[in-house]
Symmetry: D2
Subunit: 390 residues, 4 copies
């Protein structure tokens, strides 16, 4: 790698920002069982403590996404100040319109106008919360869908969604963007009302420029080439950001980079190719994982390291050589340039970048040495651990 590539890699790696989700610090599981862990936060404030610890050790996770109502507090301004005191900011606001009995047949797509009203009101509340917390992103995931052919009218539901999102979009301050997430299936199993990037894209086009698509890496049909659609969305100026995690089968919610590190690298290669690793690109990098078996804070640190390693490899691709090989139709040669970067062990580079930033070169080891885990397990022994729906 030439001097310039190296310098740029270090700059980007130092400036990279990865948002962690509050809900990943709480208990979570499958429909079969949520295995309880020790040291789980009992309040949104304790989630912030954990997120701040992750940022302290990694240096690249300076914000935490909130989930409403799971993270509802009386005074969001106070919550924001609490976070700021610990060195992090409140990030994207994630409304929840799927965990009340009213939402059995959907939220903004529900055939019952009263339920739709309730859902829209919650979304509007989240806009206001975002205003209070200084959040610039409203991450909308709609769990809406149907389980049986004929259960509801697909098109009518799409119309209802459009109407609801219009009201929300119009209420957002200029500084806020609406990111519309899609998901292939679950919790519904015949239709999801936003099952793919195309549907999200079509809805966003109707809303306006501050409506963009949110790509969750675990929400695709088997075999989907994610880096391809990322490229298309970047080309259309409609890629709002990522929810990173891993999947082998469904929405597995595993550590990002655990199931297919090469895929993560390819995604970051396309992001880099579009200039979207630059801090001002407007593309948000967020984690969205649910750790069923592994301890929460170490899992989050490991996930961040995985994104960093994929990013570092993407930054080491010799793009001049790559372009030459591509243009000349050298199939194996072009592929080899990409693989050279992927085969490189970037852990020394990242250790170096961390040292330069005054961090421990091995954040996980630092965490295990530091006593934080022991402390939270002791301090949080009483009370109700937070989790989905809590």
């Amino acid at each position: 790698m030439n001097e310039d590539t190296a310098t740029r890699a270090r700059r980007i790696l130092r400036a990279q920002r990865i948002e962690t989700p509050s809900w990943a610090y709480g208990n979570s599981g499958t429909r079969f069982k949520v295995f309880a862990q020790a040291g789980i936060p009992r309040t949104p404030y304790e989630k912030i403590d954990d997120a701040a610890k992750v940022h302290e050790l990694t240096g690249v996770a300076p914000s935490i996404a909130l989930h409403i109502p799971w993270d509802r507090v009386d005074d969001f301004g106070a919550l924001a100040r609490y976070a700021a005191d610990r060195g992090i900011a409140l990030g994207a606001i994630n409304p929840n319109v799927f965990q009340e009995d009213d939402y059995r047949l959907g939220s903004v797509c529900n055939p019952d106008p009263a339920v739709r009203r309730k859902a829209v009101d919650h979304l509007l509340e989240c806009v206001e919360i975002g205003r209070a917390t200084g959040s610039r992103v409203l991450s909308v995931w709609l769990a809406d869908g149907t389980n049986y052919a004929g259960q509801d009218d697909i098109r009518a539901r799409q119309d209802r969604m459009g109407e609801a999102l219009r009201e929300v979009y119009d209420r957002m301050p200029e500084s806020m963007r609406l990111l519309l997430e899609y998901k292939f299936f679950e919790p519904h199993f015949y239709t999801m009302d936003v099952p793919d990037w195309g549907t999200s894209f079509a809805q966003c086009l109707r809303l306006g420029e501050r409506a963009q698509v949110l790509v969750d890496t675990g929400h695709h049909a088997p075999g989907t080439n994610i880096e391809f659609l990322v490229t298309i969305l970047l080309r259309e100026g409609r890629l709002g950001g990522f929810h990173f995690n891993s999947r082998n089968y469904a929405d597995d919610d595993l550590l990002v980079g655990a199931a297919d590190p090469f895929q993560l690298f390819r995604i970051l290669h396309e992001i880099e190719g579009a200039g979207a690793l630059e801090p001002d690109s407007g593309v948000e990098f967020m984690l969205d994982q649910c750790h069923n078996l592994e301890p929460k804070v170490p899992a989050m640190i490991r996930s961040i390291m995985n994104v960093q390693e994929a990013t570092a490899k993407a930054l080491l691709v010799d793009r001049a050589r790559l372009g030459q090989a591509q243009v000349s139709g050298d199939v194996l040669g072009a592929h080899a340039v990409l693989m050279d970067a992927f085969s490189t062990d970037v852990r020394p580079l990242l250790a170096d970048v961390r040292r330069d930033a005054g961090l421990d070169p091995d954040p996980l080891a630092a965490y295990h040495r530091g006593g934080y885990q022991q402390r939270i397990e002791e301090e949080r022994a009483g009370g109700a651990a937070m989790g989905w729906g809590a």
Copy 2:
């Protein structure tokens, strides 16, 4: 259809037996939300009441599968008598070795021998419960697996499973069979310890003749030809039975026949081709569904009707003509014979069979007219509704 086909179809349809699962009468849902319904049973006895109602209306559901510990009672003999008084029997015993914190890393495959001991003890308890209830089937589904490459030793886990099942198998009375279910994924997302029929088959071969494979129609990789593997297992004498339900994506647990009625027909066509629709075939027909959105008892009745319709169509296949077309290599002709049966509206035939048996020709309409739903909604208003884990 000639006279003989018609006569045989009526005889088989009248003699068909479909077991309903106790857990399908309780609340269930996804990891995102369990939507509560009215009239849900609060005790195993009330589940039996519901199952008996389903049998009363359909005439083909004379047994109920139990799930332990969800259906644990002090006196299983009393439970069996309670059921018998209502016209049904206790069916397969389904152990649960996945809903305690100890089972985070597996049950019989767990690296910790103490957890394995606990799991085996539970399986042995279920053998004894089966003895007490007169059950002849132990349905073993192991939720065991891992989420991350390297998390555990795949082969060692297989060895541990073999050892555990050996102990259980050796304890079973001669009248009992062990049916080993497989599942492609969930609740684990890297490996499942019994992910496919081949693995179940290999374990069963080592155990002995009374160990057979249990086919859950929702537990396969995308695109899997289920009727093919059903045929292979029938040929090897290792098809123990079915857990019927529908899937579009994962283990969706929808009404059997709802997602792909043609697939259900094809499966029953192969069962019929192997003579396994005969009452003494040893192949068990069980439902295993989780109704997230729809009311429980009507959903169960509908599911049974769906199996009946697929069965009726399979019985109407003109097998003489089919065989001739197949042997002569007439691709379109052979396919057409099968499709002729599938295209037939068998609802009049089934209405007739029900009338002959003294039943209402439309069990669902009869249920809605009968007032049972209203009664249970009133009577079961207090107390805790049962569900997974309850």
Copy 3:
């Protein structure tokens, strides 16, 4: 079904138009083997003879799609008159930019501008052919893609495609539409340049209103809900038409309706719901199949009958009851309304519609009786049978 439903069903079924593809009358197969059949056309004229026979027997297939260069003749006007004399018209023009060595790395997305020029010129030629034949549809399927990560620049290829399609679009007469087909994979295995409906949609939006998406039912990721995306495209006014066929695994190219008749019904139910079964809807119904094992003309007749049966069932859905059940949140009830239509045996209705139109009620039997197959097998014994690439 009430009087109006029945009347409307008969009218739509009589007016339905399904275009057959010239290439389905020629030999085709897999990469492993093309099995030769007897009686295969040796010229585009003989393909027209076969298509005319299919229309004569079914009454609903009055046009044939052409594939260029497979169907290239010196005088397309003469070809059109030949067809008209036999009662059918020339339909969609399908360019072929994938079967020359130059297209190894793509056609309009190729890194080599000379190859792109050649591809565009071919597309422009097809516009002119369409002008000569009176065709109103240019069906563009681009086999372009890459096999290896890094092989080419995903975004640059998208730009090249946009530029090429712009030139073609601008050349089309006002009466012509460009339908852009997408395909999940094959013949490329890392990226396809138009892999999904979203990418086609995005390209069409940039081109103009006469650019629309072409949905081939066999070109989706596993588990994709096709009727959903059909509904989205209809809502956006961008559904240009269908290439009907069946798939179990990939682009299997089996008889439409053979793999999943319920899916075909659901698709037609959505089409009907959007009013797009009306003759002037602008949605084209075309078959695109490759019969590897079965005889060509009978396969085509059977395919048309399958579409007719699915259409008839869709027309029988009691939409008033369906709407009521949907709006009231009656999950099982709404599903049941749909299933009632699907369970109906519509073959008598279709036989009746055919009789009314002066046709044999059983077109396949009429074909087998009529001697056509025997005649073409004799007459076409010499010469080179046509097929892909011929």
Copy 4:
């Protein structure tokens, strides 16, 4: 890595044997187009030249698999001597029972006994060819299957297959093994007669100990965990060997390691865990790829290097630490041990191993420098290039 690990890694890497397939040196493609390349062999002898060149540069590819009839010669003894003179041996014999019109409805599963006889005779011929060439492996891939439900009797086909394989098995010399390959789909699209490892396993069990399963890495349902089934087959003593290649979607036949290098590593990790990387393990490592776009000999060299890199990483796994972490239930820790090995850049180690063996550390660069490609392009300019079916 400690001294012992390093020493063992070098020994195994030096002793590794990867067989290349004769057909990968010929032209191949998709059903849409076979793109012709320059320098393609025109005879089996020239294929051997290419394979010998690959072995000369890599040092680990000392045998070539044959495909009959593509590689049929009058004197197989002479062919073997020709190969031996160039430093390589003739390897597995691959019968072809899918490329004649007779095989339209199958080979050994065909409903027509005359076709079955023909197919068995070809398999027997291949046994004899293997005897003549000293081959110890008969690799049987049956393209048999059906395209339509009802087309043929699934079970009868299975019986026919069993009968045919029995005859072949009984004719094999004691030194020969029959490896039965399976494939999820293609060239048939409703059933394949050996679609999965379980079916192959069941057939092998009936045949005898020298019948084993052949795992082609591209022949699985989406999401299949290949390393899992590899482990099961190794545990049952029925893993005969591999056909290595890559897939994203179907049987893509891409360079092994190109689509998912982490998967290849995980497979080799399980092989190593079972001791099957030892030269006498009886597990055969073969490539089976079809290079549509890329030059043949370089593609083969690259593929071998990819297998070597995955092997090297598998050999570097710290198994003591891994076992400790696994037994103690340290999910993240165990996963991290595996990932440490995968993250390591093993190219320097492999360069070193090659230097020790007197080879160029970069076989691809050496090939490009060596002038072989130029020479074959000149020398093989006339005559008919070989390919599938040639």
